[in-house]
Amino acid sequence: MSMENTAKTNVTSKLEVIPGHAVNIPVFQLLKEDGTVHKGAKLPAIDKELALKMFSTMQFIRLLDERMFAAQRQGRISFYLSSLGEEAASIGSAAALAFEDMIMGQYREQGALAFRGFTVEQFMNQLFSNEKDLGKGRQMPVHYGCAALNFMTISSPLGTQIPQATGYAYGQKHSPANKDAEKTCTLVYFGEGAASEGDFHAGLNMAAVFKVPVIFFCRNNGYAISTPASEQFAGDGIAPRATGYGMKAIRVDGNDIFAVYAATQEARRIALEEGEPVLIEAMSYRMAGHSTSDDPTGYRTKEEEEKWRAKEPMIRFRNWLIAKGWITEAEADQQMAAHKEAVLAELKKAETVPAPHVDEIITDVYDTPSEQLQVQLDALKAHIRKYPDAYPATAKGVK
């Protein structure tokens, strides 16, 4: 059998039915909800500087999400998608990577991007689709991307990034530049809903077969828009699926930034030293709606939300930092106030930056615009000159 099929096969004459919940993976946690450490638990080696950077990023994202959600409600941006309650999952994991590692996001990992160094101004330019947006105003708000920060541009269709991560990591593994000290891996984020897509299966299976250095990071936040995890899958979450692919898995408390950091650090070690993919399932809760387009009161209870509010990730990290003496209440509040000032200032600025020039409407479809696209652009510009009032965002630029 082993010649044709690498699955281990022990022969038995006893009919045995394997139960559907044979694998039950515990949740790895270091920080308890009150911010104290489990007895005997070993915290990852995180120095004060790194800890404060992680905390500051967390506060920034909390503030950014709150302000931009409000900005959408005021009609200043068309759409927003908050990561409220899941900041530890994205920031803790990004912090455990090397800067050169590729990150492929789904669309709720602004924390990872901010940790990498995406500036407030860059966030705002994307959110306002203005001419300074790296994505040239082409995608809906929150579809960030930045080559300089090794953060792949986000795509709305769910799960498409999962097999792409496998391919990217395969390229990293076989790159001539992939020397011992400079080995890199790819970390790909997705939700427990996206894990139902066919691309999830394809991506994980291929990664296990090809033994590539990729970390599949599932944010299990309990909901895919209105659909609860209980209507998404019948098994014990996402992590046990790794077993079926012959892949290692870790389940971690996604609201515990130290546990997320430690889990990702170990996954990265396995990916690079052992040359194998790892699946991490971070257990969390989407405290906000899916986006500005839905109202969670239509599909879940206040009681459920309150239960999870007590487990939210920022308070426990803050409590730990204060107990450790690395930050004071006042300093934490001052930091938040500074973030607020920066966000408001950049928001105002980005709002007044013009839309991309109309010439950009045909660029990047190909490496250079085709003759046919150039003809279409010329006709469009002639049309805009004829009806400038109908196209106020670009009329000025075509005079």
Binding site: S78, F79, S129, N130, K136, G137, R138, Q139, M140, H143, S155, S156, P157, L158, G193, A194, S196, E197, G198, D199, A224, I225, S226, T227, E231, Q232, F233, S293, D294, G298, Y299, A355, P356, V358, E360, I361, I362, V365, S370, Q372, L373, Q376, L377, L380, H383, I384, K386, Y387, A390, Y391, A393, T394
Partner: protein, 325 residues
């Protein structure tokens, strides 16, 4: 009769179909208790139970594969794909399975009970993943029917026809009009024919053809043309597979001119097929080349949505080009 918007008309059609035949079921992502992200299936789970209106896991290829099986079993599944932009993981199931189920089995089996509902089109600040008009990909697939309604009355009558049509139907809903289009709609069941275009407005100088949300754009363009003294005939194709070449040809033989206005990218949009067929059938009647107003041959942009869109002004200009040729 009741005043309904397009979503309410869809909801009413589903309600009528489910009341009429208990083998009709509706499902898709967030379709159950929540009633769908646009609320098209609102209240149906409460009324007909979880076995007939339910959430699926988040997997489009699974939704359509499941629907194919359910239809093959003799049911009338109405599967929702949340956005037309997300239909592509199901492309294999639709193109290779749904469309060929009857043909490949010599009619031993069929999935004629299947209806796939999906919102399409732009005008909602959705960028390229919430705005596409992918109807032409599917129009290249023998075995499918494709229906695209323009208003609430059409939506209900055509959806009821689609659900009980003995062939699989892709029913594409203009999401820009979901709440914007309001009109009188009968509360009871009624059907409208699939494969039959409708002359929305009669005219003598030029024929303007469209489907779905674009008909509203054409109406605005024709208002402008009328101020110039032009009499335009407007035709809503209503279904693009099969499509009613006869009605269009008859009109073009009368007016001598044809303009097609479409939202999708210009190259290989469905208007290309209309133009080719009409020049074959009406060559000697045409007084000017067939003109098209379309989206650009680029992905659907966000910041440049207005510039990209084949709006009423571009359609009006196409009418003028046709007349002044």
């Amino acid at each position: 009769m009741a005043k309904m918007n397009l979503l309410q008309a869809i909801n009413s059609a589903l309600d009528c179909a489910m009341a009429k035949n208990d083998k009709v079921s509706v499902f898709g992502e967030d379709v159950g208790h929540f009633g769908g992200v646009f609320r098209a299936t609102s209240g149906l789970q409460e009324k007909y139970g979880k076995a007939r209106c339910f959430n699926t896991p988040l997997v489009e290829q699974g939704i359509i594969g499941f629907a194919n099986g359910l239809a093959a079993q003799g049911s009338f599944p109405v599967a929702e794909i949340q956005f037309g932009d997300y239909i592509f993981p199901a492309f294999d199931q639709i193109v290779n399975e749904t469309a060929k189920f009857r043909y490949r089995s010599g009619n031993e089996f069929n999935v004629g009970g299947l209806t796939i509902r999906t919102p399409y089109g732009g005008g909602i600040h959705g960028g390229h993943y919430h705005s596409q008009s992918p109807e032409a990909y599917f129009a290249h697939t023998p075995g499918l029917k494709i229906v695209i309604p323009r208003n609430p009355y059409q939506a209900k009558g055509l959806l009821l026809s689609a659900i009980f049509d003995p062939n699989p139907v892709l029913f594409m809903e203009p999401k820009r009009l979901y709440r914007a289009a309001v009109g009188e709609v009968p509360e009871e069941e009624y059907t409208l024919p699939i494969g039959k275009a409708e002359v929305v407005k009669e005219g003598t100088d030029v024929t303007v053809v469209g489907w779905g949300a674009q008909v509203e754009v054409i109406e605005k363009a024709v208002e402008l043309a009328e101020k110039d003294g032009v009499s335009a005939e407007i035709i809503d194709l209503r279904s693009i597979l099969p499509w009613d070449a006869e009605t269009v040809a008859k009109s073009v033989m009368k007016t001598g001119r044809l303009v097609i206005s479409q939202e999708a990218p210009h190259t290989m949009a469905f208007g290309s097929e209309v133009a080719a067929t009409i020049q074959e059938q009406c060559f000697l009647y045409l007084e000017s080349p067939i003109m098209r107003a379309s989206g650009l041959d680029t992905p659907y942009p966000l910041a440049h949505e207005k510039e990209y869109f084949s709006d009423h002004l571009k359609t009006y200009e196409a009418i003028k080009r046709s007349l002044n040729y």
